[in-house]
């Protein structure tokens, strides 16, 4: 019996067995193409096709959207998504590409969308046929999300949208976007509204998607520019002026703290991909010569590596303890730490790996002599994307200080 199973409900026990059988029969094995590190880093149409077809088959088998009602294309189960995902992770299947759809758009549309929207959008979201992206950040609205300036002007049942969104992962593949915008310029928070808008079908008709290049030189993010894009009022979620509250539902799930949070499912990457863990850094240290010895013999590096091992273990244990009410004084205290801890952990681990590699850390992706094919400097730089995106580390600490500790707001 695995750890997870010990506490399964009867429904979960049965569903777990079903998932396990299905995965065994349908696991695609090691992929022939090079897969990205995460869904957000899908670079080619080939990668997308491969991952979309995997999500579709998993959806058809009932492993996606398990906890949503059947009327919206879900499985009608209770707390079973976690079970499916645990099995997918355990079996190292590929991940699903529609990660913003599943993680953020689905719960938001489900809680705030009309019945018609739910029934129309959610099935193709779950199946991965429609990729979703998120239109929140703008050049002038980063940490201060509520200052978004993208504006929708009403005429009858139609809204005309103008504005500029940045950091929209997957936008170049997306059919749909969840979009936070302004319908009233006189109120900061109450002037916000929330829409779902078509992207791929409107390229050149009010929508422009342009790649943003990261400091690493990679693409992946986009900027999306709206120029007189017209959408129907039927695409609005919840009431006019309630955009901020709807966005909170999205962010809650993004931070892994919502009721319909979809934990990571699957984890198959190509062999070439580096896992940013203390274990990988230890392997690097064992394979790096330092004078007459190995870097792994250096007491200072050992100490730094053990600090990371301990933080990683603590991170895992936090997730576990969060589900034991008797060991939690505040219900959100651990959940709201998740993003902050994971991203700073990755940043520090890659910084240590660079110190382990020494001058060889200067070698990048195109150098055959580079340790781990140059992916450690890549990981270190990308870690700043993680400590900045989706609420900087500074904003995360504000949230924790204000919502959990009850300290005065810092603005």
């Amino acid at each position: 019996m695995t750890e997870q199973e010990r506490k399964d409900s009867p429904e979960q026990i049965e569903f777990r067995a079903y998932c396990r059988r299905w995965i065994q029969d349908n696991h695609p094995g090691q992929p022939s193409i090079r897969l990205p590190l995460s869904p957000l880093e899908i670079m080619t149409r080939e990668q997308l096709d491969y991952l979309q077809s995997w999500q579709k088959s998993a959806y058809d088998a009932g492993l996606v959207g398990c906890d949503y009602p059947t009327e919206v294309g879900g499985g009608g189960r209770s707390d079973c998504q976690r079970v499916a995902n645990e099995e997918l992770i355990g079996a190292k299947t590929p991940f699903y590409p529609n990660v913003i759809g599943l993680g953020m758009a689905a719960p938001t549309v489900f809680h705030h969308g009309s019945e018609e929207l739910k029934q129309r959008l959610l099935p193709r979201l779950f199946s991965g046929e429609d990729i979703w992206c998120q239109g929140f950040s703008e050049p002038g609205a980063g940490s201060d999300l509520a200052s978004v300036q993208t504006f929708a002007e009403r005429s009858g049942d139609t809204w005309r949208i103008n504005g500029h969104k940045v950091w929209t992962s997957l936008a170049h593949f997306a059919e749909w976007m969840i979009l936070l915008l302004r319908t009233d310029k006189s109120h900061k928070y109450d002037g916000l509204s929330y829409f779902v808008v078509p992207i791929a079908s409107r390229i050149g008709q009010g929508v422009t998607v342009r790649p943003l290049i990261k400091m690493t030189g990679e693409t992946g993010f986009n900027e999306v520019i709206f120029e007189d894009l017209e959408v129907s009022d039927a695409y609005r979620l919840d009431e006019l002026g309630k955009g901020w509250q709807v966005a909170m539902t999205t962010l809650l799930h993004e931070r892994g703290a919502g009721g319909l949070t979809t934990p990571r499912a699957g984890g198959l990457k190509s062999d070439a991909a580096l896992t940013v863990t203390a274990r990988s850094a230890i392997e690097l240290a064992k394979n790096t010569r330092r004078g007459a010895a190995q870097a792994s013999d250096d007491p200072l590096l050992r100490d730094r590596l053990m600090k990371q091992v301990i933080r990683e273990q603590a991170f895992t244990e936090n997730q576990r303890r969060a589900r034991v009410p008797a060991l939690n004084d505040h219900p959100m205290r651990l959940a709201l730490q998740t993003k902050l801890l994971a991203t700073e952990l990755a940043q520090d681990t890659s910084a240590i790996a660079l110190d382990i590699a020494g001058p060889s850390a200067s070698l990048y992706l195109a150098d055959d002599a580079a340790p781990a094919r140059g992916q450690w400097p890549l990981a270190y730089m990308n870690s700043f994307g993680m400590t900045i995106a989706a609420g900087t580390s500074e904003i995360q600490r504000n949230i924790l200080g204000e919502r959990v500790l009850g300290l005065a707001k810092s603005k």
Binding site: M1, T2, E3, Q4, R6, K7, I282, A285, K286, S296, P299, R302, D303, L305, M306, K307, V309, I310, R311, Q313, A314, F315, E317, N318, R320, R321, R323, V324, A326, L327, R333, L334, Q337, L340, L341, E394, R397, N398, L400, G401, E402, V404, L405, G406, L407, A408, K409, S410
Partner: protein, 380 residues
């Protein structure tokens, strides 16, 4: 065998934790603790060790010192996670008592198997015990007490709450001929059970910073000893993770008190027409303390659970727990005083009780760097 998702932290453990928190809150509010232990501020005066003996009597009645004692020996036989929870509350109250050292003694006795039964039965009836096992440099392997022809000779250092204990559990090197050269790590060691008022024993009380504990050097000169286990190296070794887990629990609880007390101050105290907590320098510092506590707490319960369910993992998880709790204690102590500003630096403010208790705990039973170096030996 894996660990249960909920750490095996069942209702009885939750009840114990809850009632311990109420007990300390009712019986030992921090102002009373301060009045009891901080009466004489003069740092140059002789050590004085007031402690709430009546409270200890009530703790004995509640069966706390015998929680680890199996029912067969007259104890309660609770899981380690429950005991960790109790000690978390003990630390939160900064309670001066022989609870921690008695439970640590019980941990070692349990590791002795049947041989520990008699001594455990004594613990079960409420006799406080403590460990006498460290040498002058606080090494776990120095063995500065020798067992010669059934008598103890030498001295044990850093004996915790020595004046509160009725019994000593002494780790002694077995010497067959008295003028043998000093021991090395691999030598044979015995565990002995000795009355704290035995003939030939002498206490040299340490003048320590911590006001909530006492500490002594104990000298043995021809002390008759009841040998619990003649060849105790393996038992001793296997008990170490439990000692660290129990020590960590106290630190985690104390750190939570430091956090909550400072958070309350940051909510109430105003400077520049704003509550202190408005300022990110204070807010983010306190969030960092919270994060550190949560990491330590999660590791604590994981290590305690390993003692219950997955003993083969206990050693590495206990290293992690003590390393983490030590760093957390240092951070929480420093930030709690700094964020309080001037008032936090005074004797009248209660913070210093916790600051000093944490400083004491940080360097006992291995500091953070030592635990990480041991962990590296396992994992690299």
């Amino acid at each position: 065998m894996g660990q249960p998702n909920n750490y095996g932290f069942e209702e009885e453990a939750a009840y114990l934790k809850e009632s311990a928190r109420r007990f300390f809150g009712d019986k030992l509010p921090v102002n009373e603790l301060h009045a009891l232990v901080a009466g004489d501020p003069n740092p140059e005066s002789e050590a004085n060790v007031p402690w709430p003996t009546e409270l200890w009597g009530q703790m004995v009645e509640l069966g706390w010192p015998s929680l680890l004692v199996p029912e067969s020996c007259g104890g309660v036989g609770m899981p380690w996670v429950a005991v960790a929870a109790l000690l978390e509350e003990n630390g939160r109250a900064a309670c001066p008592s022989p609870l921690l050292c008695s439970l640590q003694s019980a941990a070692v006795l349990k590791a002795c198997g049947d041989a520990g039964t008699d001594a455990l039965s004594e613990l079960a009836v409420g006799r406080a015990a403590t460990l006498a096992c460290l040498d002058e440099s606080a090494s776990l392997y120095g063995h500065s007490v020798h067992l010669v022809d059934g008598k103890l000779e030498g001295s044990a250092h850093f004996v915790q709450d020595a004046e509160k204990a009725e019994k000593l559990l002494v780790l002694a090197r077995v010497v067959t001929c008295e003028d043998e050269p000093p021991s090395s790590e691999s030598d044979k060691v015995a565990l002995c059970w000795v009355d704290a008022d035995a003939q030939g024993l002498s206490f040299k009380r340490n003048a320590i910073v911590d006001l909530t504990r006492d500490q002594a050097r104990i000298s043995f000169s021809g002390v008759s000893a009841q040998v619990v286990l003649q060849d105790a190296a393996a038992a001793w070794q296997s008990a170490l993770p439990a000692l660290w887990v129990l020590a960590s629990a106290d630190m985690v609880g104390a750190a939570e008190w430091q956090l909550q007390t400072t958070v309350e101050y940051a909510q109430q105290r105003k400077q520049f027409e704003r509550p202190l907590g408005f300022f990110q320098a204070v807010k983010h510092d306190l969030v960092n303390v919270m994060i550190a506590i949560d990491e330590s707490k999660s590791l604590l319960y994981s290590a305690a659970c390993a003692l219950d369910w997955e003993p083969e993992k206990a050693l590495q998880l206990a290293h992690m727990a003590k390393a983490s709790a030590t760093e957390t204690a240092a951070l929480a102590s420093g930030r709690s005083v700094q964020c309080h500003g001037g008032i936090g630096f005074t004797w009248e403010c209660y913070l210093h009780l916790y600051f000093k208790r944490q400083e004491h705990s940080q360097r006992l039973w291995g500091d953070a760097a030592w635990h990480r170096s041991q962990l590296a030996e396992i994992l690299i």
